[in-house]
Every structure is written in structure tokens, then in C-alpha cells.
């Protein structure tokens, strides 16, 4: 039996055991954590170093096959959905932490290292890698770079791009370039451009990340409110008081039920909203900041404010928040999670509108939000076996994001555009803005072989939902 030429060439690059092409094995790669669209790739390859990635790029280019880089496949926007005639390039075998260099506050990792593995490797060093997306247990640092991942602690510490010092990148012609790692490398800031580019410009194989000092002390609080408005108002007032907490997370009543079932933390189920607020920094003044926050919460109607007394309590509180999204599997068989972001002060208004949208589409929506960033994650619940409900959910999701655009915000804060939000790009950006981005894409990838059909709609508005 003779193999297709593409497969033969791919096998030559990485060895036969590192190329999958049996239909039953490809099926597993037909989607990521966004399951509404599926398409199997023509092959899956497992390179072990940047040189192999370069060779694979040349083979794919020669055969005109598209390349879809994939890490842990936790994208909620379909960032790893294969396009037609696509080869999935797995970075999971490039998973070594190459260097931890505390003198330079830096770690060098291969792209496939899971975010949490780095943090675990840093245990006891007094440093950590600040971006902490809720998927951090699984998602890779390469994937974090591709989506410019955030997380609850971005309010104070910033997103992934603020913590990347340098990249090793394989370009579309197979060339390997190193950018950085020292500050302000000469020429254009390609590092800043590649972070958040969702794999359409190049394949990141190695990352130099900035490490952040662990805070000397922290206080984690849980405040219970009788309305989402009160909770959001408290968030705004805390910021206005000149305090930048490490995180301010909001969960509404709907999601509390799921979290409570999963982790039995003891949230009152009649609470309309809870805030998880963490303030960190020097021990010397932390009590005062904590008290200020407690006072503001109470002033804006918090029924009670509890401070985690032990590390275990704090960890459980964060576990509840970080696994909240997954826990909704207990509420309904399927969900779509949106990633809207608005100026912080517009959050109450948007959450109110989300409730109206849910009512008008006769679906259930529950919310978690990085309230300090104005970033809301509405979870639209449905049963994928009910096609009418599925339709309603997708329409409602679109409406929610349009609401965010209207409020001066954006359609994604940290999940990326992927395929899921592609059709909304033309609502968010003017044609000339998209044109500027397309120019950059063409400069990197003239044949448009990198992750096609993602991130940027085709010129001429050919994007389809």
C-alpha cells in the first residue's frame, strides 16, 4: 500500500511513529474545547525540536498543506480546529523546562510545557510565572503565548505579553529565528506581535518568560452580595480608592450552584453574586488594605465578607473559581462560553443585558467575570442534542458580544478569536483596521498556510459563522 506523498514526506521528517494518519486516530483531533465545529486533519505530527518543525514547515509548504499548531487543545474558541487539508502540528513533545535563571528573573521553556508545570518547578524559589489562566493545569505556555492568555491575576500583573522576554519562532519558510531575550531588541517588536497571534504568523517553539516575585503576603476575601450591580459597584469603588487588588472575581448565582455541588465550599445558594477579592503585597500594610476593601464591600451592600483564614481555604476558594467553568458540566450537557470585555464601569449594565438576552432566547446563562478587568464569561447552557436550542444559544452568544462592542469593549479578552468569533471581527474593526492586520499576516506567511480560517476574516468579508 503506498502512502500519500505528503504523509511519506512528513514521516521522513520525524519518523513513522511520530505521524498519525489513521482516520480513527485523527478523529480525536477534530476539535479542541470548542466543540460546535469539527473537522479531522489529514495528519498529526509530533516534532521534538525546532529543526524538525522547520523541516515539517518546508514539507507542508511544498505540498500546500495548512499547518495548525496545537498544544493542550484547551482553546474555547476553536483555535486548533483543523481547516481543509490541514496538518496538526503537536508541540506536546517539546515539553522541557530548559532553564530556570533566577538571577535574571527568567525561565526558558519549550512551547509544550504546561503552565502549571512551570509554576510547580518554581515552588520554593520565591518566584512564579504570573499568567494564570483557568486552564493552567493543562494549557501550555506556547498556547498561552498564542492567545495572550490572561487569568484572574491579570488585574495587577498583566497578561502573557507582559511576561514574555523572547521567543524562538519557526517562520513559514522553515527559518528559525530567535527574538530577544534582552529588553527592547532592535527593530520592530515582533515578540509583541507574535504574542496573541493565534498561530497565524509563525510557530513558537521556545519561550523566555519573565518570572514574578511571590507576594510577601496576601489576603483572600469572599464577599456575598444580593445583586450583581452592588458587587460591580463595589469593584469600581475599590479601584477608585487607589487599590489595585491582585484579583477581583465575580460569580453569579447560577454558577454558584454548580460550584457548590462540585466543591462544597459552603456558598449560600441564595446569594445573587459573590466576589473573590485578593489583595497582595508587603505584609506591613496589608491589613489596612484588606480593611479598606471590606469596608467598601459592606458600604455597597455586601451581606458578609469572609477572609480565608488558612492557605488551604484560600486554595479551595481559588479552585472553586478556576474550575467553575468546567463544573457547569454538572448543570447541563453542553455550554458555550463567551469572553466579552467592556470598560469596567459598564459591567453591571452588560450583565443586566445578558439576563435580558437569556430571557428573550429562552435559554439559561450563568456568569463568571474577572470583574476588575471588565471581562465577563457568560456560559450559555444547552443540550447539544436539541438543535433548536443550539441555534438559540449561538444567536444569543452573538448578541451578548455585540452588546460588549456597543459598550466600547471587545469580543474577546483572553480566549482569542479562533473560528468562533471570526464573523464578529468585522463588527469590531473597520475594513482598514483589518487590512493592517492582514498585511502583517501576509508579511509573515504569504501563502497563508498558518492556521487558516482563524483570527482574521478573509478579505472581502468572506467570513462565515
Amino acid at each position: 500500500m503506498s502512502l500519500p506523498p505528503l504523509i511519506t514526506d512528513l514521516r521522513q521528517c520525524v519518523g513513522p511513529s511520530n505521524v498519525l494518519f489513521a482516520p480513527s486516530e485523527l478523529a480525536v483531533y477534530d476539535c479542541d474545547a470548542f466543540t460546535a465545529e469539527r473537522r479531522p486533519p489529514v495528519a498529526v505530527v509530533f516534532p521534538e525540536n525546532a529543526q524538525q518543525v522547520g523541516q515539517l514547515m518546508r514539507v507542508c509548504r511544498h505540498h500546500g498543506a495548512a499547518v495548525v499548531p496545537r498544544g493542550a487543545g484547551t482553546s474555547l474558541a476553536g483555535g486548533c480546529l483543523p481547516g481543509p487539508n490541514s496538518v496538526v502540528l503537536m508541540l506536546t513533545r517539546m515539553n522541557r523546562i530548559l532553564e530556570i535563571d533566577l538571577r535574571n528573573r527568567m525561565a526558558v521553556v519549550e512551547a509544550g510545557v504546561p503552565n502549571l508545570k512551570l509554576t510547580q518547578a518554581l515552588a520554593g524559589s520565591g518566584y512564579h510565572f504570573a499568567p494564570d489562566p483557568s486552564s493552567q493545569g493543562a494549557s501550555t505556555i506556547g498556547g498561552n503565548v498564542a492567545t495572550n492568555a490572561g487569568g484572574p491575576h491579570t488585574l495587577k500583573y498583566g497578561v502573557t505579553v507582559n511576561h514574555v522576554l523572547g521567543l524562538e519562532v519557526v517562520l513559514s519558510d522553515g527559518t528559525i529565528v530567535q527574538l530577544g531575550p534582552y529588553e527592547d531588541p532592535p527593530g520592530l517588536d515582533l515578540v509583541g506581535l507574535l504574542v496573541g497571534s493565534e498561530g497565524i504568523l509563525g510557530i513558537v517553539t521556545k519561550v523566555w518568560v519573565r518570572l514574578t516575585r511571590n507576594p510577601q503576603d496576601y489576603r483572600t476575601m469572599r464577599a456575598i452580595f444580593d445583586s450583581v450591580e452592588q458587587a460591580s459597584e463595589a469593584v469600581s469603588r475599590i479601584i477608585a480608592a487607589g487599590i489595585i487588588p491582585a484579583a477581583m472575581e465575580l460569580m453569579d448565582q447560577g454558577i454558584l450552584a454548580a460550584v457548590e455541588e462540585a466543591f462544597s465550599f459552603g456558598f449560600p445558594l441564595d446569594a445573587q453574586a459573590i466576589l473573590i477579592i485578593e489583595v497582595d503585597g508587603l505584609a506591613v500594610d496589608i491589613e489596612r488594605k484588606q480593611q479598606q476593601i471590606v469596608d467598601i464591600c459592606k458600604q455597597f451592600g455586601a451581606r458578609e465578607v469572609l477572609t480565608a483564614a488558612t492557605t488551604a481555604q484560600r486554595e479551595l476558594l481559588w479552585k472553586c473559581r478556576k474550575l467553575a467553568v468546567g463544573a457547569t458540566g454538572r448543570l447541563s450537557p453542553s455550554y458555550i462560553i463567551e469572553d466579552g470585555v467592556v470598560p469596567r464601569t459598564r459591567l453591571p449594565q452588560v450583565i443586566r443585558r445578558i439576563a435580558e438576552i437569556a430571557r428573550s432566547h429562552r435559554i439559561r446563562i450563568v456568569n463568571v467575570a474577572h470583574a476588575g478587568d471588565g471581562n465577563v464569561h457568560p456560559l450559555l447552557l444547552f443540550d447539544e442534542r436539541d438543535s433548536a436550542e443550539t441555534q438559540r444559544v449561538r444567536a444569543a452568544g452573538r448578541e451578548v458580544l455585540q452588546e460588549c462592542i456597543a459598550a466600547g469593549g471587545s469580543i474577546t479578552a483572553e480566549h482569542g478569536i479562533g473560528v468562533e468569533k471570526l464573523s464578529l471581527m468585522e463588527r469590531l474593526f473597520a475594513p482598514q483596521d483589518l487590512e493592517a492586520m492582514r498585511r502583517i499576516r501576509e508579511a509573515f506567511d504569504p501563502r497563508l498556510l498558518f492556521n487558516p480560517g482563524k483570527k482574521l476574516p478573509q478579505a472581502g468579508g468572506a467570513a462565515s459563522a
Binding site: A27, T92, A262
Partner: protein, 434 residues
């Protein structure tokens, strides 16, 4: 699972025994992947929980027959259930892979695909029965006592013992005088606080009887009357995980008869694998005895869990050493017991407990997995050993016979000055007054 006409469908479709609602609980988020030992090693989603669920689901939906390649990915699963700990949606992965694999094994048997002598004779007929295993080990034990076994291992003679049997022989720990068979009753020391029945098991009693003795002494020191009911035997896990649910049912039945539930506050077990199986007695078979088995399961407690809940007496004797604790999959992931052993160990004066990196990643033992999938088992053992070495510990603690055997074999392979112990052994030492 409780499917009326399951016979016929199972014959056609190995996934038919899995309730479809179990598949629907998985929202495909992928958070399980990095918890999975085989995915961590291989990086292929076909070898990770999310992918395996999808493979089984494709078979269940009739979208594809079970191909050989798919089958390999499913066989490579350690059933360590680390993914269940990681899953935020509460997917019961074990309840999918276990019936699926049983159905595949049954299908093979029915189709008389092959007679697997190792599975039939060694795994199902020898290992679960201490009375058969012990005499067979005698010649090997003699070699070991004469120091010849070690020499044979060193010069590679043992490699001559073929295949899986050879691997089994190489796993054997050096002989320790395990002491006599446990008596039927051991009284509490001091104020009496509980009546417990002790579960002895099969392989554990052959290789680790000294751990049993240590465990009962710790229980006694904590005011427990310890009963060791005669007539008990293997928990049935070896049968169940090697495609013999009926053999497992018989083993369970023997235990059901042996333990008079109302006489004890708890059935205490000291090895994670046995404990996990006993705690699932209520789930595996549907018949008239199901409620009785469920009641049995509800009484089962891991010894650390039990003592922590009882409120253990702090041990007093100082043991100056640096130790690290490995989470046995069946204790940590299947039973959710992770804090209690650490809490007890750190109560030992002088002991420094260093947290083991990737403690919850399987060591590769996984019941009889290391005998059946040696390649992956060895990779995982190496990974485990590297993590252990990073801690600088002198003693590795694990509360499961399989893990102890596996880690000890890896250490012997590299001739490292490291000891493998059960936490109860160390606690027993610390409870002994000088």
C-alpha cells in the same frame, strides 16, 4: 450498565455497557490531559483521557468499529483515574474504561481469539491466591536468601526468564521476615476507642506482611480492637481489571461472607488498590446482593483516612530522616485520600517530609499494568524515580503494594541508597517507645 439485553449488544459493541449520560458529562475542556501519565509521556491525545473518551464514544455511537490502533490506545490506559481528580465536570472515567475493557476481553474470549496463558494462569489463577503464590515463591526466596538472586540479577541472568513472567520475577522485593500470619484478634492498647476489622488481601500479605503487622500495631496504639476475620481473600481487583468480572464477583462474595459488618465500626485497609476496589463493591455487579455489597463498601476505610477521622494519637519517638510521599493512584484519585497520610507523617518528630513533584502521576505499576505494558511502565518508573531523586529524600513512602514493588524495583535497577516504606511502617517505629 443495568442493560436488560446487554449480552447481545456487548457482543456487537464493547461500549454498549457504558451509560451514554456518562459521555455527555464530558464537556471536552481538556483539563484532564496533563494529569494523565500516558499523555504526559507521549503527548498524543489518543493516549489521554479526553481522546480515549472520544474513542469509546465513537464506538458507542457506532461511528467506527474498534480498530487495533484504537484498542492499543485504550489498553495503554493505566486506569489510575488521575483524570477524575483533574476533571471539573465530575466525569467518571473509570466507569467508562473499566466496562469497556471488560467487554473487549469478553469479546476476545468468546471469539476464542487467543489463549493468554499469562493472564489465565498467572494473573487470574496465581497472584490472587496467597496459598498458591507463597510455595511457588519458595525457590526464588531461597536464591534471594543465599544472595544468588541478586547476583543473577546483576549479571542479567534474570533477563533469561521470558517476557511478562520475567518482569514479574524482577519485581520481587528482597525477602523480609514478614512475621507470622496475623492472629484473629489484637486488643487495643490503652483506652478502647473503636472496633475494626482488618483487610489482609492477597499479594500484599505475601510480600508485605510486615506492613500488615505495622498497621495493626498502629491501630492498637490508637485504641482499636483489631479483628482479622478468617476466610477473607483477594478483593477481586486483579480479576476485574483483567476481564474476569465473574471471578471478581466470587472474590467479593467470599469477603462478604467473611466480614460480619455489624460487629465493626469500620473495615480498615492499608493498600490503596484494595481499598479502592472494596469501596466500589456496590457498583460493579447488579444482582440480589448489590445492596449488601453497597453496605460493605460504605464500611471500608483507608487506614490513614480512618485514623485521621478518629483523631490519631501523636507518635512520640523521634525519627530523623528526610522522606517524600508518593500518592498511590488508587488512594489519591480513586479514594480522594491525600491529606491524611501527609498529616500523620508530618506528626512524626524529626521527620522532614519533602513534597514529591508530580506526586499524583502514576509510577507505572497500576495493578498488573507493569506486567502487561512494560514499555510505558518503565518510562513512568523512570519519571517517578527522577522526581524522587529531586527531593533528596532518604525514604520514599507509598501506601500501596503495587507502587512499593514498582518503585523499589526501579531503585534496585539503579542501585540507589533509597528505602521504600509504607507510611504505617514509619509510624509504627515512631509509636514504639524506647
Amino acid at each position: 450498565m443495568s442493560n436488560g439485553n446487554s449480552e447481545k449488544i456487548v457482543a456487537a459493541n464493547p461500549a454498549a455497557g457504558i451509560g451514554f449520560d456518562l459521555f455527555l458529562r464530558c464537556v471536552h475542556c481538556g483539563l484532564c490531559t496533563s494529569a494523565c501519565p500516558t499523555y504526559t509521556e507521549l503527548g498524543d491525545e489518543n493516549d489521554g483521557p479526553r481522546g480515549r473518551i472520544q474513542l469509546m464514544r465513537m464506538v458507542a455511537e457506532g461511528r467506527t468499529p474498534l480498530s487495533d490502533r484504537m484498542r492499543r490506545h485504550l489498553e495503554l490506559c493505566l486506569d489510575c483515574r488521575s483524570c477524575e481528580t483533574a476533571c471539573p465536570s465530575g466525569v467518571r472515567y473509570g466507569r467508562m474504561i473499566e466496562p469497556f475493557r471488560q467487554a473487549v476481553e469478553q469479546l476476545d474470549a468468546r471469539l476464542e481469539k487467543r489463549f493468554d496463558w499469562f493472564r489465565e494462569l498467572i494473573l487470574l489463577r496465581l497472584l490472587p491466591y496467597p496459598n498458591r503464590l507463597r510455595p511457588l515463591l519458595a525457590p526464588i526466596r531461597l536464591l534471594q536468601r543465599l544472595g544468588l538472586f541478586d547476583a543473577a540479577e546483576r549479571v542479567g541472568l534474570l533477563r533469561l526468564v521470558p517476557g511478562r513472567l520475567g518482569r514479574l520475577v524482577r519485581l520481587l522485593p528482597p525477602p523480609v521476615s514478614g512475621g507470622p500470619r496475623l492472629p484473629k484478634f489484637l486488643p487495643a492498647v490503652g483506652r478502647k476507642r473503636a472496633r475494626v476489622a482488618f483487610f489482609v488481601g492477597c499479594v500484599a500479605d505475601v510480600f508485605y506482611r510486615h506492613v500488615h503487622w505495622a498497621t495493626v500495631r498502629v491501630l492498637q496504639q490508637n485504641g482499636c480492637d483489631v479483628f482479622v476475620p478468617p476466610g477473607q481473600g483477594c478483593c477481586g481487583a486483579i480479576h476485574l481489571h483483567n476481564g474476569d468480572p465473574d471471578g471478581a464477583r466470587l472474590a467479593a462474595h467470599a469477603n462478604l461472607v467473611a466480614f460480619e459488618l455489624d460487629r465493626y465500626d469500620a473495615i480498615v485497609v492499608n493498600h490503596g488498590g484494595c481499598g479502592a476496589m472494596l469501596k466500589e463493591y456496590g457498583l460493579h455487579w447488579q444482582d440480589g446482593l448489590t445492596p449488601h455489597r453497597a453496605k460493605f463498601a460504605a464500611k471500608v476505610k483507608d487506614v490513614h483516612e480512618f485514623l485521621d477521622q478518629l483523631g490519631f494519637v501523636p507518635p512520640r519517638r523521634r525519627i530523623d530522616c528526610v522522606a517524600t510521599y508518593h500518592d498511590s493512584c488508587h488512594l489519591a484519585h480513586a479514594q480522594g485520600v491525600t491529606a491524611a497520610p501527609r498529616k500523620m507523617l508530618t506528626s512524626i518528630p524529626g521527620l522532614t517530609l519533602i513534597e514529591l513533584p508530580e506526586s499524583g502521576i502514576c509510577c507505572g505499576s497500576a495493578g498488573t499494568y507493569n506486567l502487561l505494558e512494560p514499555g510505558m511502565a518503565e518510562r513512568l518508573a523512570r519519571r517517578k524515580l527522577n522526581n524522587i531523586l529531586q527531593t533528596g529524600a532518604q525514604v520514599v513512602l507509598a501506601a500501596n503494594a503495587g507502587c512499593m514493588l514498582q518503585i523499589a524495583a526501579a531503585i534496585r535497577g539503579q542501585r540507589l541508597p533509597l528505602r521504600v516504606m509504607h507510611p504505617m511502617e514509619l509510624l509504627d517505629l515512631s509509636y514504639r517507645e524506647e
